[in-house]
Structure formats: C-alpha cells, structure tokens
Symmetry: C2
Subunit: 392 residues, 2 copies
C-alpha cells in the first residue's frame, strides 16, 4: 500500500465498531489543541457530565479511560483488587473468561460461576458462591455479553453483591446507551463500557464510573495499583474536580471531541427514546430473520436488542456468507466467538446503526447470500415481516 488509505465504506452491523455518525467523524477531525488548554479542560468537564447522564449516575469519578474497553476492564480490576483477594466471576461467554484473566493477574483468586453460553447469569448460583466463599470482596459479571447476545439481570446481581458486603464490577461495554443501565439505582460499584458500540463513536476509549464505595476502597488500598497508566489515584488528579489539573498522561484529544459529540447525540435523543428505538428495531430484525427461516440463539427473555445472535443453518458455510455480505454488499456482520465460533452470527443494531434502513439492507443481503448457498428463503416475506413489526 504505502499511499493514503481510503477505505471502502461499510455498513457496520457486527458486534462493534458500529457505524459512526458523520457528526462524530466531523468532531473527531477538528483542530487538535493542548491537553491542558482551558478549552480542553472545559470539554473534559462536559464529557464527565454527559457520561453521568448516560450511566444514570451521580458518581463524581465518571471519566473516559484513554484506551479501549479491555483497558477499562483492567482498570476496574487493578484498582479494586489486591493480591490475596477473592472475586466471584460469572462466566456465560468470552468476557467472563477475560475477567478471570484479569483477576488472576492481580494475584487474586477467581471463584467461577459458570452458565451456558447464550444463557444469562443465574443469580442463585451467585448467592451460593457467596455462601461458600464469604471472604469474596468483589462480584464481577457481564451485563450484556457481546460474545453471545445474552442479557443478565444486572440489578439483581448488584443487590446480591451488596447483600454479601461485596463490591460489584459490571461490564457494560455493549450495554451503555442501548439498554437500561441504572448505575446508581442498582448500586453498581464499577461499571465500564466502550465507545464503539451503542455510542456509535470511534473505537479506542473506555468510559468508566466508580461509586463512592469503590473510590474509598481504592483510597485505602494496602499497596500501589500494579498499573501506573490505569492507577485511578493518579488519573483522578487529571480528571478530578480540582481547578488545578495535574499532568498524568496526554489525553487523546481528538477522540474526546468525538466522544463528546456522540454523548450529545445520546442526550438529544434521550436515553428512554434510545432504548425504545433499539428495542423496536430488534423486534423487526428478529421478525425478518425468522421469516427467512432462521432461529435466534438466545431465548426471547434474555436477548440483547443491540446484538442479535442467530443460529447458522446446518450445511451453511459461516465464512462464505459473511464474505459475500462484505464483498458483495459492503455489509459487516459478526462471527461467533469462542465456543460459538462457526455456530452463530452476531448482527449488531447499535446506536446510529440501529435503524430500519440497516434492517432491510441486512435482510436483503442475507437472503440473497443464503439463496446463493442453496438455502431456500424468501426475502420479500422477510422484509414484509420487518415492516409490519416496524408499523410501516
């Protein structure tokens, strides 16, 4: 290559990144200013306020981590844990396994609570794990499992943690702005997300919020946080409420412009309206997929509206269909991950990308690719089913 890169635009209906709004791309490319410029400090304050709105929290320590969602996850664990701690980790997909990796790399012990991939976390198993491990000081779980498309009952799980005197760490990477996420009402202690899902912002930043109880635990740690870059005691000096900001690292200035604009768009629409739109479009997509003869991988009660896991029909080649969608239709959908590789597709309807046009584009492209692979299906019927569900 070694010449300027002009990507062929795609419609992004995978597990993220999702389509980024032109408003966000416009903000991203505004002139870079200094990370200690008073203009930028004012922007940082506004980003914090908008993140509090999106997280439905009044937590003072609500900030964007200057790195992707997996750094947000690591930030939660390295700040809260010390060697010897015990953490109850729920696993019902890929990201619970990543949590375990994080716990163990902190020198702590992970007590695993396993549920089937595609099922939600079972609160009774979590209660049982706390009874057997009363020393556990943290409960960690994934609210919206990006690898399976299943939603767990985050409010109930946070309440169980409280019942046993533990703090909760909630992975909300795919949840934020797509489904209800009541950080304060649920009493969640550390909740992190990513920019490239329902915020429809460029990937690379991880919004995170810490409850006062989480901040207190960080301030009373027995030793230093093992990561300098993610040490909240240091990051707070830069992002904290003081008028005097201490230099910690150079913030990704332009990515903050983009995050700010994406949060403004969320606030302009309103969270409730955004959740309702995600739900409505999900219902229509499912109606269309079922009219194509496909089945959903997750039971109706636990489906994420923003990430729809579909079973790949017998005899259909996973890669061939995704390749056809990408090459013939410039449409990206997601492969299955981990235990579900080759068994499911993951169709995202996230943020800006959750709209009727994308539903129809996806049903049309998928119907066409499936028929070419010898799978009998009726695209017109699928489009009609989706339109009826949309009330069109």
């Amino acid at each position: 290559m070694s010449s300027s890169f002009f990507p062929t635009p795609r419609t992004l209906m995978g597990p993220g990144p999702s389509d980024v709004s032109p408003r966000v791309l416009g903000a991203l490319s505004r002139p870079t200013i200094g990370h200690l410029d008073p203009q930028f400090i004012a922007l940082m304050d506004d980003v914090k306020g908008l993140l509090q709105y999106a997280f439905q929290t009044e937590n003072a320590l609500t900030i964007p981590i200057s790195a992707p969602g997996s750094a947000g996850m690591e930030s939660a664990f390295v700040n809260l844990l010390s060697p010897g701690d015990t953490v109850i980790v729920c696993q019902n997909g890929v990201f619970g396994g990543r949590m375990r990796e994080n716990v163990e790399r902190c020198g702590a012990t992970a007590v695993m609570v396993e549920d089937a991939w595609g099922a939600p976390v079972d609160p009774e198993k979590v209660r049982e794990a706390f009874r057997k491990n009363p020393q556990a000081s943290v409960l960690a779980f994934v609210y919206a499992e990006t690898s399976t498309g299943a939603r767990s009952d985050a409010g109930t799980l946070c309440a169980i943690a409280k019942e046993f005197g533990a703090l909760s760490i909630v992975d909300a990477v795919t949840a934020l702005a797509g489904i209800d996420l009541q950080v304060d009402a649920w009493g969640a202690d550390v909740v992190y997300s990513g920019t490239q899902k329902c915020l429809s912002c460029v990937p690379g930043i991880s919004p995170i919020t810490f409850s006062p109880a989480a901040v207190e635990r960080i301030q009373n740690r027995p030793g230093k946080v093992q990561s300098w870059f993610l040490d909240m005691q240091l990051v707070m000096g830069y992002w904290g409420g003081d008028s005097k900001r201490a230099y910690h690292h150079t913030a990704p200035v332009n990515a903050m412009y983009a995050l700010h604009e994406s949060l403004l768009i969320v606030k302009e629409e309103g969270l409730e309206q955004s959740f309702a739109r995600h739900h409505r479009n999900h219902t229509a997509l499912v109606a269309g997929l079922e009219a194509l003869g496909l089945s959903m991988a997750v039971a109706a009660d636990y489906r994420l509206p923003q990430l729809n896991a579909v079973n790949i029909p017998d005899g259909i080649d996973d890669g061939a269909i995704r390749g056809a969608l990408l090459n013939d239709h410039n449409l990206e959908i997601g492969a299955g991950l981990g235990a579900l590789a080759g068994k499911t597709w993951r169709i995202g309807l996230m943020g800006h990308a959750s709209n009727p046009g994308n539903i129809k584009r996806c049903l049309t492209a998928l119907g066409s690719a499936l028929r070419r692979s010898g799978y009998a299906c009726d695209t017109e019927a699928a489009l009609t089913a989706a339109e009826i569900a949309l009330g069109e």
Copy 2:
C-alpha cells in the same frame, strides 16, 4: 457547554501534542470500518512497515500500542520484567522517575542512576551501576527527555547494556522522527514512542518495537505478564504476521488511519531530511531567543532540536506570559515540569510544527508578551537573527 465543541485553533509549540497536519486530520475522519476487515488488516501491515522505517529497524514486532505513550512505557516494563528482577534506571528528568514507578509496580528493583535535570545521562555512572549490580537484567533510560529538552547518547548507553548482558529499554517518545534513532544499529531492545510529538499525529497511540532478544525474553517469561491489555504474547496474535488474526482488543481504527498518514508524510520527506529540518529550525529559534536576551536551559551539545528549554528571566511571571501567548496569540508553549516548574519554558518545534512560520510567530508573540511584562527586548532583532540562521 453541552453543545458541539468547536475549539479555537491554536499553534501548538509545547511539548506535545504538536500541530497536526490537515492531511492527518483528513485521514482520521474517514469512515470507520471493522477492526478485522481485510482492508484494515492490510492497513495494519502497512503501518508496521512504515513504523519499521521510522524506527530504522527490521524488528518483526514493531506495532502501535492502542493507548498513549505512558502505556507504551508500561508495555515495555511489564513484558520484560518479572518480580525480583533488577533494572538500572537513569533519571535526568520526569520520565526516568516514571520508569522507576513502572519497575517497582512490577515487583522489580530499580537501581537509580541520577543526573542533573537538563544534563544528559552519564555513561560512566551507568557502567559503574552495572559493576555494582551485575544481576541487573535491564537498562532503562530516556533518549530525549521531554521534561528538560536534553538528549542522551542512546547508542553508547545501549552498547553498555549489551556489554553487561542486559537488555535496553529506550524512551523515544519525543525522539521518533525528530532526531536520529537507529534501533537496529544501536542494538536497542525495546523502544517506544508517542504519536503526538514529531509524528504530528493526534495523541493516543504509542508505537513500540521489540528486538528478537526482547521477544525471546517475553516468550520465556516465568509467569504471565501482569497486564492483560498490554501482554505482548496476546497482542502479537492480533498484530503478528499470521494471515489469521486473533481478536484481542478492538483497535482504535480511525487513530490508525491518522498514524498511517503521519508515517507516510515522514517517509515522503525522508528521515534524514526531517532530522535536518528539525535541526535547522532549532538553530534559528535559538538565535532568535538569544537575540531577545533569553538563555537556553540545556548546554548546546545536548539540546533537543524539537524541544527547546528556555530559562525564564528573573522577575518574569511564568503563567502570565504563557497565558498571554495563549489568549492573545493562540500560541501554546509548555511550562516547566517537576523540578523545572516555574523555571523554564519548553518550546516545541516538532514534526509539522517545525517550520519558519512558527519560529517567527513564537518570537513575535514572546517578544510582545515580555515587553508588556516590563522586560526590555527587541523583536525585530530576534526575527532578523532567526532569518539569518534560516538563510533567508
């Protein structure tokens, strides 16, 4: 605020971020595609090749870390070190101190070699430290100290590390593309940088390169890397040479477009030409500053051309002058950091921002602000001195 953010453009002549070229901002805002899209994989390969050019290396593991320079620093230490290791850390400014923090958070011991802030690292002291600590397995130093503007003899220091059987970790955050950086010829083992200095790219990404000996040490570690996000054994699976890329984290897609474009610009100009331009503009700036009656904080032999530390004259208020430059001239210069706070200004001439127009803008603005503060100086004489040095 809570409305779209339109920053007043600044001329960025601080320690970074530096002015970003419109070409780079243009690349940044191209449509987001998936991080596993074949188009993006091809871009990743091209970025690796261009980084090898900029670092003057054939190291296969030459990649951008998806987070700022301080994560690049952490990545070097957490991958190379294990608990109980001994590291010789040279400190002649802020960033040597940060290296010590990183070493200690890995459970390793830092043997400090101290030099005055503004002086280069003394190779004899490093030799002496190795003689007293033969168990030391790593030497870490800052090639271009961003906090002081001093340049150390990186080639000699890397050779000393080799002489004592140790690996070298070199901070080249401010060096890359601004001054000669011969990773292979010097035998440097881990060298990291940032995008927001002489690459004139947006902040947020840290290019890094690992020698085969460094990779071997990582592959033979006694235990896991304490950071999941920065674990090179995992990152290699995504950025490695295989045709099949394993998902690790979601790469900051648009930031990669920008990095790619900034590296293309470096290659189009050519490294030698870029170094010569940085040197020529530095000489002109110094001539102008001295004609204003100001003195440089670093001895001529060790000055970084891309970051010029100037002594603040007695009786002149640091903040008032920088405030006047920012508010009246939209010009950002840097404050002193750490031990040099209030004593020096740091004037960057980095990458795209290293040009005659910026030199004149800075001399004019600084002359004006100083005169208003009661300091007698002659801007015309300063501009003439700079023009003569530029050969204009």
